[in-house]
């Protein structure tokens, strides 16, 4: 049973447009008896924009974060660094790979870190909060914590692109199931759908503006996901990336007009679903920050507990 607190790297999006993700993860981890400590003075991971300008500088940006996290490591062992945004997750993982390979690139980046008085010894492990919830905390502890089983709630688990690509660290690359298992553990019903890892068009750049970058492409990509999910009867889409969440949530009205199919599916963070089932206060989960949120009026349940208990 792990009671340790984890080093948490939120990234720019999970503190901005995706604030609810950080808030809900914090609340859920606290509720499960561990906790998240935000990495102090973290900087941007460089996303996919910086590698397009200078790859080594992008690694250096992530290396600074890893070096800062390593200061928090216990003397003997490695430290887990939790990156919630999947864009950050990929960037940090990639930098970690490069640094651990100890080639000329690692030397160059090590030199740059030295210039600002930091060093990196390779004692970090970049992990995603989903990985921790599933493999460290475990489904049993999550099941025990549930006070309001979300029976009958059909959830489409959307993993997005960068959680399992290009590095498949803890889940299958083509048909990931980690989130489905988490959602099933709190009583909801994960639907089977084929677009789990198809790109939403969020482009993992910098959140909000993406629809401005390629509006038509983004609309088509998100619409394909939303249509498939609603066709298969999903009440909700569970995401694990601030960009996917916003991208799927924010433009449904515009998509309905454009494609002539009414859309109104809440797109939430999976941690918010877990939190609701654990009976955590909605304010702490950041539910009030969602543009759409409703639990379905299906399968009436007796007064206490169940999906209707929401005030």
């Amino acid at each position: 049973m792990s009671t340790q607190r984890y080093v948490y790297y939120p990234g720019c999006s999970a503190t901005g447009v995706g604030r609810g993700f950080t808030e809900s993860l914090d609340a859920v981890f606290e509720h499960l008896g561990t906790g998240l400590d935000e990495l102090e003075d973290w900087n941007c991971c460089g996303a996919t924009a910086w590698p397009s300008v200078d790859e080594d500088q992008a690694f250096a940006l992530s290396a600074r974060n890893l070096a800062l996290a390593e200061d928090r490591a216990p003397d003997d062992g490695p430290v887990d660094v939790l990156a919630s945004c999947t864009g950050c997750y990929r960037a940090l993982l990639k930098a970690e790979h490069v640094l651990n390979e100890a080639g000329p690139k690692a030397e160059k980046i090590g030199g740059a870190l030295e210039a600002i008085g930091l060093d990196y010894e390779g004692r970090t492990r970049v992990r995603h909060p989903i990985d921790i919830l599933l493999n460290e905390i475990g489904l049993d502890r999550i099941r025990e914590a549930v006070v309001r089983p979300l029976t009958g709630l059909k959830v489409a688990c959307y993993y997005g692109c960068l959680l399992v690509r290009p590095f498949a660290t803890f889940d299958d690359q083509h048909n990931p199931t980690s989130m489905d298992r988490l959602v099933a553990a709190v009583g909801a019903e994960p639907i089977d759908w084929p677009l789990k890892t198809r790109c939403c068009g969020g482009s993992c750049y910098c959140g909000g503006p993406v629809i401005g970058a390629m509006p038509e492409a983004t609309m088509q990509l998100s619409y394909a996901l939303l249509r498939e999910a609603t066709k298969r009867g999903a009440d909700m889409i569970a995401t694990i990336c601030p960009l996917c969440q916003f991208n799927l949530e924010g433009f449904q009205g515009r998509m309905s007009k454009r494609f002539g199919r009414p859309l109104d599916v809440p797109s939430v963070f999976v941690s918010q679903i877990l939190g609701i089932a654990m009976g955590i206060d909605e304010k702490r989960l950041g539910i009030q920050r969602l543009l759409r949120w409703q639990l379905p009026d299906r399968e009436p349940v007796p007064a206490e507990g169940g999906v209707h208990a929401r005030a």
Partner: protein
């Protein structure tokens, strides 16, 4: 020979000209295909190249930029990347075609292409490729080369956004979404700023977006580090 610039309308409509030969012809016009008629919409361009126009070392140049890049030479042109790509319909050259042209040495065409900038970096191609070519990383490498040589599409949104993003991180260490979107819209399409103002305003009311620019404490040190890398 430089390919003509694609206007935004031509790719945004989803009817991108797959051959990258210029603006999309009006629907149903058969004259576009003939070169001899007197009144034609546009001439059919001669796409064949003289050897002198090609740069046979181009593929090797890309390969050297990327880890495992040498696998580029082993491409079997199966087209799995193009079919796995969620945005290949919006590209002027599909990924398969881009690789073929890189290997043929069509340097100018590849570097002026929209393709690397349309790529969403979702890595679908990379994991499906039967030859394990790191296609997404190659796209990033192509972006780097075209930025260095200033051959990227100037008015296209993604290069503008990339630059705005990088400038902001260089300056402050963290990105602020509201500032990046405003910069992007003002530099490319100010009408979008008005169109998307309502959602920005909603997000601000929910505390998900703010005008205050985020920053780290050690801004000077971050710049020192970045300079140390590039020196």
């Amino acid at each position: 020979m430089l390919p003509p610039k694609l206007s935004e309308a031509s790719w945004a409509g989803g009817a991108a000209d797959r051959r990258g030969t210029g603006d999309v012809a009006p629907a149903g016009s058969r004259r576009t295909q003939t070169n001899g008629s007197r009144k034609r919409w546009r001439p059919v361009k001669d796409q064949s190249k003289f050897e002198a126009q090609l740069d046979p070392g181009f593929a090797a140049e890309i390969a050297a930029e990327v880890e495992h890049g040498e696998r580029l030479h082993q491409c079997i042109q199966c087209g799995t990347c193009s079919s796995a790509c969620p945005v290949s319909a919006y590209m002027d050259l599909t990924p398969r075609r881009l690789i073929a042209m890189s290997r043929a040495g069509a340097r100018d065409d590849v570097l002026h292409s929209f393709t690397p900038w349309v790529c969403t970096s979702c890595y679908a191609c990379t994991i499906e490729c039967p030859k394990q070519i790191p296609i997404t990383e190659i796209m990033h490498a192509l972006r780097r080369i075209s930025l260095q040589e200033k051959s990227y599409p100037r008015r296209f949104t993604t290069p503008v956004m990339t630059k705005a993003f990088v400038d902001m991180i260089h300056d402050r260490g963290r990105s602020t979404e509201s500032w990046i979107s405003m910069k992007l819209y003002l530099r490319t399409n100010p009408a979008q700023l008005i169109k998307n103002a309502w959602i920005g305003q909603r997000l601000m009311r929910q505390g998900r977006m703010g005008l205050r620019r985020e920053s780290i404490h050690d801004r000077q040190k971050l710049r020192t580090m970045l300079e140390a890398v590039s020196s």
